[in-house]
């Protein structure tokens, strides 16, 4: 579902790029505050730190939890990159591949998950020409913001009422269909093709791809292991 350059008008690309920067900035601040702790100057002094390095009220230091989290983000990114390469046939000459938004969100929480998806998308765009460079904002909004961050809350809400794996499966299906919908709207906004026609075609294909997304997400989570965590 990686939008190449040319499908979107410059206005659409640029406004979505702005939106993506905003979303990522928010996610980064959330993650940074979760993985670091502010060490006050008084503690820094007793620990023998160099006084000239101090500023404001103290200094941010990576916690043990933070170290583990950030390295886990790298591993999850690696899994998603690899799994996204694995296109599976759907029907009459069409394939689909994992988006991995819910996989990332379940393992890392919505904010770290969105960052991981965005890093994967950036690498795919720069090194593999998969997804446009100008369209990177659109792709981050579709597969990161919609496919990971928003879909996390679908999972989080559903798991209060139903079995966790069922909640994951539904959220994974939703993530693909919702991302496809966002993608269609963006392509429609460019005005080169009617939004209704694109949406109809995209949703009918991705309703099927979403089922496989749900299955692969559950399978990968099972292989990855049980240490799910949030925040």
């Amino acid at each position: 579902m990686h939008i190449p350059d040319g499908f979107l008008g410059p206005k659409t690309s640029m406004s979505l790029l702005g939106a993506a920067v905003g979303v990522l900035g928010y996610c980064l601040s959330k993650v940074l505050s979760a993985i670091t702790v502010l060490v006050p100057n008084s503690v820094l002094a007793t620990a023998g730190a160099n006084a000239t390095k101090m500023y404001n009220n103290g200094q941010l230091a990576l916690t043990k939890f933070g170290s583990e989290k950030i390295r886990k983000m790298g591993v999850v990114a690696a899994w998603i990159f690899a799994a996204q390469m694995f296109n599976f046939p759907i029907s009459n000459g069409t394939s689909g591949h994992l988006l991995g938004g819910v996989f990332a969100a379940v393992l890392l929480g919505p904010f770290a998950g969105t960052i991981v998806i965005s890093v994967v998308l950036l690498a795919q765009s720069i090194f593999f020409a998969d997804g446009g460079v100008l369209a990177i904002g659109a792709n981050i909004i579709n597969m990161g913001f919609v496919g990971c961050l928003l879909s996390y809350y679908v999972y989080d809400y559903l798991k209060k009422f139903i079995n966790e794996n069922v909640a994951i499966a539904i959220a994974a299906w939703f993530s693909v269909v919702a991302a496809a919908f966002a993608c269609s709207v963006e392509i429609g906004m460019a005005g080169k093709i009617s939004a209704g026609t694109v949406t109809k075609a995209m949703l009918s294909v991705h309703a099927v791809i979403g089922i496989v997304e749900a299955a692969i997400t559950l399978l990968l989570l099972k292989i990855f292991g049980k240490n799910k965590e949030v925040e």
Binding site: L44, A61, T63, W79, F86, H97, F128, M202
Partner: protein
């Protein structure tokens, strides 16, 4: 962690050999509705998940996949090393403060 990276590498290699070559959902739809021509092709060192001088073979794709796995993994390892270097206090101080805050 090494085991988990190995799993990612295995998935990438398997993808190189067994992934479907059909166009994905968006590519198919753009072709069907006749707007695939709008796509501007960008160049990239590993375009189409293959190494250009090896060609469009499964092995080429598997190698490109392994490189990709290490690129995205590496991004976070570098951030980790940078943040860890920035920490001027022994980790026990930071950790104990974190526990107390809870």
């Amino acid at each position: 962690m090494k085991k988990r990276i190995l799993v990612a590498v295995i998935i990438a290699v398997l993808a190189g050999f067994f992934a479907s070559r059909y166009p994905d959902g968006l590519d198919k739809v753009s072709g069907m509705l006749g707007f695939s021509g709008l796509a501007k092709e960008n160049g990239a060192v590993m375009k189409d998940y293959t190494i250009s001088f090896i060609g469009q073979t499964p092995i080429s794709s598997a190698i490109a996949g392994i490189i990709g796995v290490f690129i995205v993994f590496g991004v976070f390892e570098v951030i980790y090393l940078m943040l860890r270097k920035k920490a001027v206090v022994p980790s026990e101080v930071a950790t104990s403060r974190k526990t107390r805050a809870k």
